[in-house]
Symmetry: C2
Subunit: 441 residues, 2 copies
């Protein structure tokens, strides 16, 4: 006999909602045996009650009436899977006010209005669980909040957008051009019809805002994050980087210095090809966490998809039903943004190594001119690559790798280089990220 | 103000005990802010109260008298870090009987007497938390029990012994011989003075017993696990394997088939060099879990060491202090071994691919003889490697890779091959494990 039965309602009966319903309908016995709690899917709400879904619901469960949940006091947990930030926010607030705990996968909403929703939940003495909002089936939120609870988190380096990683993997391994790789990602179902939020880095920034908020205990929004997407990456740069031992990834990076300064950024970058994150291929996600006690811990898995995401949502439902989430959530008090804001570094303050590619005229004195510009801006080089090319336009690609340099100096140098007569097209500049791998001999 | 203060006693003040004390003494404020609970180190017990440790305890905390904990009703949690299976078991049982929850890193004890201890804990209405028993700082127990709670676990492929992985990495990357690599591991502090339990696979089997028990929900002991160590691995075989695209690892593998049959084994094996586990180098650990919903999820980090292990222990202390562990532990009912036993497969039932190396005379007809023996045993080949060698003894190494074959057939063939006049020395036979990577194009 179950110790207790917990009734659950799903709002939003799309792909993920279907996955959650499938687990709740098929595996309730298994979950009860492990937890003592009977999970009962009591209601599914969607404006579309007609279309065929991937899972068959018992008769009478599906409705388009949200009030049928709000008014049913026996329903304890509401799973918001509507997506977007407007209707979803309203629904979450109504669920909380209606006395229900909320489980959600809505990263955009949490990234933009997380603290407001958390405050509403605290007021209602309810909790919001959001494991599925970051990195799909990887239990990363739980890892940060419980498994690594004894750690002060120093940094997060993450691949949290499977669409971009799939595209970059194909550009890297098959020398595909961006447009073709994107098209293939769409055909395979890894990219939305409108992939803008994925490829311009916004989706990664949403996830980083959530991860950094809970890891650092302060309110971080997407506005605090420097963001560049992968839409302008050219396959030739991936190839030159590879020759020099680097792999291009879209990373989401959060770092907290000992003085409390926080650096948050999402951008394509070269990382050493033998680093663990460089080896994360295809639509997979990986999150590397650096804790002061545990050192580097990396989590790898499927960052999206019906069943992986449903796996994370049902894990949350179980924790909420057992009462464990609420106890921890009660203490999820984020330092408010107005206090955090002045500790957040600007991208110009970044010190990094850089990959710079110029298309330069193949004539005497060109290297001297480029070198003079770099020297003027206090930039020293650690590597240069120039292949012999036999073309008719007399323009050759020149790649340089810099030593550690401040972003603002690089920006000035790139501007100066662009003005040189011998340099054709705009210079390409890609950051090199040296992940402080927890290396041991 | 803390919601409540929880008093903790540590039994065993060695390296790990010092790490736990360090976190409790230095980070109590930080942990209180996140959880609302004040952790107070109330007592440390060790038979040696004189030696200098890596952390300075407040005066009066250290004693050699276990009863001072048992008699102090205000102490709620006892951390057993004595190690070994005799005294430690007695201490855990006394702590439970004394009304304390137990936190432990003792894999040998849990692997051999886990169910007995769990039963004692259930009787005392207390819990045992054991995150630190497997894979050090990686929160793998919590991942299986909560983050992946909605999954039926189908398989575990794990590198859980950092000593062996360090040795094999050095044999692979630096072509070191086993004895030299072991010596270096000892010098670096990655291997015990007596490394037998590490290199013969016993330690990995202990951890696999624990992981498989909680993943499959049944009582599994080291006796149920087929175990081979790495002590007889020769660097030349690592090199031949590498040429053919394989990397040698000591893997701990647990698989559960749909019909309930369970396969448990620890042995050195070749895995494809581009698989995620093949890239786990040095003393790191990694655990790959296959869930029916989440797919493949891999966890990577430091499997040992003072602070990573302390990180896991304090995470457990926090979960126990919050009451979360107890709620879940209450339902940790393992199917008893006498019922599970007949579902556990024998190694002879294994179907696998195999790497076989023979040292054979370099003369006409040798290949035919080898081929005849293999054919007689129903074994077909997928690859052969023989380098030209210019030596005086006229003996050359011949490497063959088989297709899927049953273990008992390979055993018979190896015996027959050993009897051939043209085959010198004993044939070397290493399993090839094809990890069902959750591959997506």
């Amino acid at each position: 006999m179950a110790e207790k039965t917990v009734k659950i309602a799903i709002v939003g009966f799309g792909t993920i909602g279907s996955g959650v319903a499938k687990i709740l309908l098929e595996d309730a016995d298994y979950i009860e045996a492990k937890t003592g709690i009977r999970l009962e899917l009591a209601r599914v709400v969607d404006i579309d009650t007609k279309s065929k879904r991937k899972v068959a619901l018992p008769k009478g469960l599906l409705t388009d009436n949200l009030n049928s949940i709000l008014e049913d006091k026996s329903i304890e947990i509401g799973v918001e899977l509507v997506g977007g930030t407007k209707a979803a926010k309203d629904i979450q607030l109504k669920l909380l006010a209606g006395g229900k705990d909320v489980v959600t996968a809505n990263k955009a909403l949490l990234a933009e209005h997380g603290n407001e929703l958390f405050t509403a939940a605290h007021k209602a003495d309810k909790c919001i669980a959001f494991e599925a909002s970051c990195a799909g089936g990887i239990p990363i939120i739980s890892a940060i909040r419980t498994g690594l609870a004894a750690n002060k988190i120093k940094a997060i380096y993450a691949i949290v957008n499977g669409t971009c990683n799939y595209i970059l993997s194909n550009m890297t391994k098959k020398n595909m051009q961006f447009a073709d790789a994107l098209k293939q990602a769409q055909e395979k179902g890894y990219a939305e019809a409108d992939p803008a939020l994925d490829i311009n880095g916004t989706d990664s920034a949403h996830k980083l805002a959530i991860l950094a908020s809970i890891a650092f205990g302060c309110e971080i929004t997407p506005d605090d994050i420097y963001v560049e997407g992968i839409e302008n990456i050219d396959t030739s740069d991936i190839c030159y980087g590879r020759e020099m031992g680097y792999t291009l990834k879209l990373l989401a990076i959060a770092q907290r210095a000992d003085n409390g300064k926080i650096f948050l950024r999402v951008h394509p970058c070269f990382i050493p090809s033998d680093s663990a994150l460089a080896r994360v291929d295809g639509p997979f996600n990986a999150v590397s966490i650096f804790g002061n006690a545990a050192g580097q811990v990396m989590f790898y898995g499927r960052g999206a998809g019906m069943m992986p995401t449903a796996s994370a949502i049902v894990a949350d439902i179980i924790e909420v039903a057992m009462g464990n989430s609420k106890r921890l959530f009660k203490h999820l008090k984020l330092e408010p943004r107005n206090k955090v804001k002045n500790r957040i570094s600007k991208i110009d303050e970044l010190t990094s190594r850089f990959y710079i590619k110029l298309r330069a005229l193949d004539k005497p004195g060109v290297f001297a001119q480029i070198g003079t510009v770099l020297a003027k801006n206090d930039i020293s080089l650690s590597g240069v690559l120039q292949h012999e090319e036999h073309n008719t336009n007399n323009v050759v690609p020149v790649v340089v790798i810099t030593h550690q340099t401040r972003q603002d100096k690089i920006a000035a140098a790139i501007k100066d280089l662009g003005k040189l007569d011998v340099v054709k097209d705009n210079p390409v500049c890609i950051r090199i990220v040296d992940i402080p791998e927890d290396n041991v001999e």
